[in-house]
């Protein structure tokens, strides 16, 4: 373990050491260091996809675990997500150019009548941190907003959030409408928000209730594996 006074020169580290250092820097929310690390790896000939998955996604996975376990809290996760975003800012155009494989696409929004967005934003950031494309519809979304967006964006996952006991039943309105239109099975529907629980998620016909942003990411990954498996089978 290095002395805390030591100034680490990122460009002097080997690839393996640099990647580990970037995990720590994400954990500490160090934006400039993440930008520098991403650029160094790219200069060394890494593909944008490898930089994304091995440095950023893996680093955010560790952040997610400690958030889930009550070791990190919202402020630390937001700082980490900001650092990750700085890295994504460089990588996003390169990923598109190189046709890198995609994790999946999520449309997310807080339901009609509900104007709370801290939890929803966290989920969006952590999903981006896990390599997903995220389309954020913001707050107060009627059913039409969700249906239009999942079709237009060709989404894999629909995420709905509610903080109020009075707005959470609206999630069922959206799911019922998807069923009525015969498109329910085309999407994975994840729901979350402080007053929700697993029982509620089941009762309204969602695929899963996600307790927090870290669980949302794990759940989304599992469902995407099923989807890919089913599509190739």
């Amino acid at each position: 373990m290095a002395d805390e006074e030591d100034d680490i020169i990122l460009s002097a580290l080997s690839d393996d050491e640099l990647v580990l250092q970037m995990h720590d820097d994400l954990y500490d929310g160090l934006k400039d260091e993440i930008t520098e690390g991403v650029n160094i790896l790219l200069e060394r000939g890494w593909t944008p996809y490898d930089v994304l998955t091995k440095a950023l996604v893996e680093g955010m996975r560790i952040v997610g675990i400690d958030f889930r376990d009550g070791i990190l809290f919202v402020p630390e996760v937001l700082l980490a997500a900001n650092a990750m975003k700085a890295g994504m800012f460089i990588l996003r155009p390169l990923l598109a150019e190189t046709g890198a494989p995609k994790q999946g696409k999520m449309v997310i929004g807080t339901v009609k009548g509900d104007i709370h967005d801290i939890g929803k934003n966290l989920v969006g950031m952590m999903m981006e941190g896990a390599g997903f494309d995220v389309v954020d519809l913001g707050i107060n979304n009627p059913v039409e907003n969700y249906l239009e967006a999942i079709e237009k964006e060709d989404a894999d996952i629909l995420g709905m959030s509610a903080l109020l006991t009075t707005t959470m039943p609206y999630m069922k309105v959206v799911i019922d409408e998807m069923t009525a239109k015969g498109i329910r099975e085309n999407y994975v529907v994840l729901v979350g928000g402080a007053p929700l629980n697993e029982e509620f998620g089941k009762a309204i016909g969602a695929d899963a209730y996600c307790r927090d942003a870290a669980v949302a990411v794990e759940t989304a990954k599992e469902f995407m594996e099923h989807r890919k498996h089913n599509q190739t089978a």
């Binding site: 006074e5 809290f73 402020p75 509900d114 006991t165 402080a194 629980n197 309204i204």
Partner: protein
Amino acid sequence: MTNALSRLLETRDWIMADGATGTNLFAMGLEAGEPPELWNVDYPDRIRALHQGFVDAGSDLILTNSFGGTRYRLKLHNHQDRAFELNRCAAELAREIADKANRPVIVAGSVGPTGEIFEPVGTLSIADAIIAFEEQIKGLMEGGADVIWAETISSEEEITAIAQACANLDAPLCATLSFDTAGRTMMGVTSTGYAGLQQSLPSLPVAFGANCGTGAPDLLRTVLGLTETSPDAVIIAKSNAGIPKYVDGVIEYDGTPELMAEYARLARDAGARIIGGCCGTKPEHLVAMRAAMETHVPIARPALEKIRSRIGDFSSQDDGTGDQSAAPKRERRGRRRA
């Protein structure tokens, strides 16, 4: 400096606060997404009825209908310029009902979170927050609030900004945080951490404690942490009436009046002096709580096992205050910044 609340506390061992504002207003026809604060002007009789229901059920202290009354919350409905007016009306309505009662009833001006995240993680500066809270608090005090009542706060910055606004305006403060994330607030504050923090707030609270969160067992565990750290302080317990359950298309809080009565007794044993309910707490719950507190003679501080056996299990293993050495330590590679 004395105020109506501190004077009442001198004559009473305990004070019963009120129940839920939001969930009861929804039962009266408030639409999801509609700001409740508008009803202070549009349907004042419904707000009077809400307060009257609590006073009739035995509440000694009622909260104004102004939880989302900062300009930051009102802005989401494009009513940011009505902050002062809506808060003044909120306090006037509660004052009117309190003054009609045949016993002292305290009017506490509710101040909720802005919903913004503070710098450096978020965008709201402490200075801007103080300005917004001053605007709300001026309205509440002009409308006749006895004390300011900050509730459901999760961040140290936000409670500090509210306390500073109170100090600037000479308004007495009560302040409860919501400990809903594995025993801590969303932003990571512990019960014992808060008991320490409140001593250095720009306005020393008349009373402080916990509200909302994840059910009565967790809230009592938090109260135990607060009273252990600050045995001489006036501690507030305002728990939800159970947890929300989805039954036949409607959300109901599952806490019965009997459960809330038991919670009130345990809260007294734990050392809380201002006891009320949060989400899901109706007048019928308060009636049972009042009866329980009037006959209960406080006994020893309850052990966690007693709380669990009387009113149900905790939502997380511990309250986040203890030795965290059991938590896995991340092997650090060293830091490049002091």
